[in-house]
Symmetry: C2
DNA sequence: ACTATTATTAAATAAAGTTTATAAATGAGC
DNA sequence: GCTCATTTATAAACTTTATTTAATAATAGT
């Protein structure tokens, strides 16, 4: 009956603890009794798990009274701890890196404490991160969560391939960041983090494809409330679908990838008749001024085909678009959405819903971090 | 300590029982001790589960001695019961229907006891099935497993859409077959059954896309040893990818689907300059005589593109081709395989493996049946 | 016949769940 | 303000299932 420091709970308990945490990722706060119904255990068990997780500071009590005006004893509400910083969330971006402390219960839009230009080598990067974010770290942190672009092998915790950030390939980030903090570092593929973020910010939608426009064109699928995890180090590779008649050379080494048309630099290349340094603002300005020119329509249609074929294969009807497409005039997204609807056959048996949405990278990282660190390991008999 | 008739085991026990059954779907026979290592429980627990399942006649002992020549007491081997017929496996095909009794431990190639032409209505079908297979049924059966083409909603146990077998749409097969037998009927989408069959006959391959050529072009993906189950009533829709320049009308209502080129009837249409009744044998003969004509190459390339894009999206590198492609000269499959390898980008990070394989429909149905009936329900806390 | 090895069974123990009963907190009705 | 119904929380007893440990059984090789 004494406080065990770190006794691994049995499989069944782990399963139930996971249910609790996942439920609380979706819902702001919950009472023991409500939780019991939600996860399908007896109130006693639910109560015990809540007590355990509260003792571990994974949950915390909510002072505010429950909002529902009903008879009976009101339940004590609990939520994921939103007081103690537990993770350092890091966005390793192609052009810049951001980092910020975050709690388990964070429910806002992305915020970052520090930012710097991403340097050209791993050591410089670690050093800059140390210099800027080092003072944020404290002994209570549970992990450093790194969102990275490219093709990531989540099992091996390695970046396999990253055309825009070659130095990250094969890096051992855990070792690289060990000097910063004793807490373990975790790599999470950027688009997958965004998909997880979309999951927690729209828990009612259990099946969707997230498509992010940025330096590439990435996708990640959520099916039945589960992120689709392929064993090969790809997710839903959308960016490298070949487009007929496109002879641009892609960072991946191939020719004609759709990514070379709709990525930020791809769009810039399309508008820049003269020379001129890459500037995303110029792209935005040009499209604002010139509207949907033919080249842009072609690029969007190609992207829509890639997305539509992914929808067909995965049997999905919901698409969330994030990233740089939101910077462009709404006519661009509107055109793309129409083209996606045309490109899929799902529409025959229902409606394809496409929407744009802000990125929820931090919340996605937290969800991944909770999975990896708090719940940990696979669930076998114990 | 007395024999409970049908007490539902707890979640943990269900989990472990499932591990045992799934292990024995992969492996012909196993001893208690070996099983304990395989499923990760103590030998005691593994032994108890084996005893339980044997008492329920899910497992049976194997008389033959273990083949391994090692010192020490050899273990008693167990396998899935291959003595008592437990399922009536039914293949509801577009042109004909087949049915046969099968045990849980069946490990051979597909065999069927009865066969008849699929009639034009549900009632006639049930009647014919009763007439031909009725005498096979006995009280000990656990279920009737029906493999159906088209788009199947496995949760609702309904065929949503079946262009070649319209009468099956919306049918309540459970009710339709109630007069035949008290055991429950289960619908399993045909391609998914084949994918499950491929899983059990090649347990070492945990990730692949199964593509079946028949009256349509269907796909089903297995990722990490799990059949990909989409919530929308599609699986990997390959057949209805639109092909530029193809103006054939598809059974699905759209124009230009790749299925209209590579389905049996599609191929027939391509060779039949004159009129003439559809006959698959004529297609085979024509291609044997004329080899890879231009129209055929075009059709195969279109199919390869659809398959390749599915591989990209799903991050798969293994493809198994089944069905009518095996009837054609090997040059056809060879050409298709080469085209698939060209169409995917997975090849960049490894090799794409494509192979043809005979269908394992019955074993796939058994695997699905075991999941649905013996293991049953979802695994929540109990 | 003896030994080493592996397999199985039995008993004791621990973990985690459920059911049942009771206590606590609140709104509603009087 | 008091009582009652309703809901939530917790305590106690019991059940299921797994584990550990020890004892026993079976076999191959010496």
């Amino acid at each position: 009956m004494h406080m065990t420091t770190a006794a691994t709970p049995s499989t069944l308990r782990r399963l139930n603890r996971r249910s609790v945490i996942q439920y609380l990722l979706d819902v702001p706060a919950v009472s023991r009794a409500e939780l019991a119904k939600a996860i399908g255990t007896s109130p006693v068990t639910a109560g015990k798990i809540v007590d355990e997780l509260t003792a571990e500071h994974v949950l915390e009590t909510v002072d505010a009274a429950p909002e529902t005006k009903s008879v009976g004893r009101p339940g004590q509400l609990f939520r994921l701890d939103a007081t103690r910083p537990r993770f350092l969330a890091v966005q390793l971006g192609v052009t810049h890196t951001r980092a910020g402390l975050t709690t388990l219960g964070f429910r806002q839009q992305d915020t970052w404490d520090v930012q710097f230009d991403t340097p050209q080598s791993a050591d410089e990067w670690a050093e800059k991160l140390q210099k800027t974010a080092g003072k944020l770290l404290n002994a209570k942190l549970w992990g450093i969560l790194i969102s990275t672009p490219g093709i990531v092998d989540q099992n091996a915790q390695r970046v396999i391939f990253s055309p825009n950030l070659h130095w990250s390939e094969k890096q051992d980030f855990k070792a690289l960041l060990r000097p910063l903090h004793s807490a373990p570092a975790f790599l999470i593929q950027e688009i997958q983090a965004l998909a997880l973020g979309e999951m927690v910010s729209r828990p009612e939608v259990k099946d969707f494809l997230l498509v992010d426009f940025s330096h590439g064109l990435g996708g990640a699928a959520v099916i039945g409330g589960q992120l689709l995890k392929t064993v090969m180090p790809f997710n839903c590779e959308l960016g490298h679908t070949r487009v007929l008649g496109n002879d641009r050379i892609c960072g991946c080494g191939a020719v004609g990838c759709v990514e070379t048309l709709v990525s930020r630099r791809g769009l810039f290349q399309s508008i820049s008749t003269g020379r001129g340094q890459y500037q995303w603002e110029k792209v935005v300005k040009h499209i604002q001024d010139n509207g949907l020119e033919h080249w842009l329509k072609t690029a969007l249609t190609a992207a829509a085909d890639a997305i539509g074929s992914a929808l067909n294969v995965l049997g999905l009807q919901n698409v969330t678009l994030t990233g740089s497409i939101s910077d462009l005039p709404t006519a661009v997204a509107t055109y793309l959405i129409k083209e996606i609807e045309n490109a899929t056959l799902s529409g025959r048996f229902g409606t394809v819903h496409v929407r744009t949405s802000p990125r929820n990278r931090v919340r996605g990282l937290i969800k991944a971090g909770l999975e990896a660190i708090v719940l940990g390991g696979d669930l076998r008999s114990r």
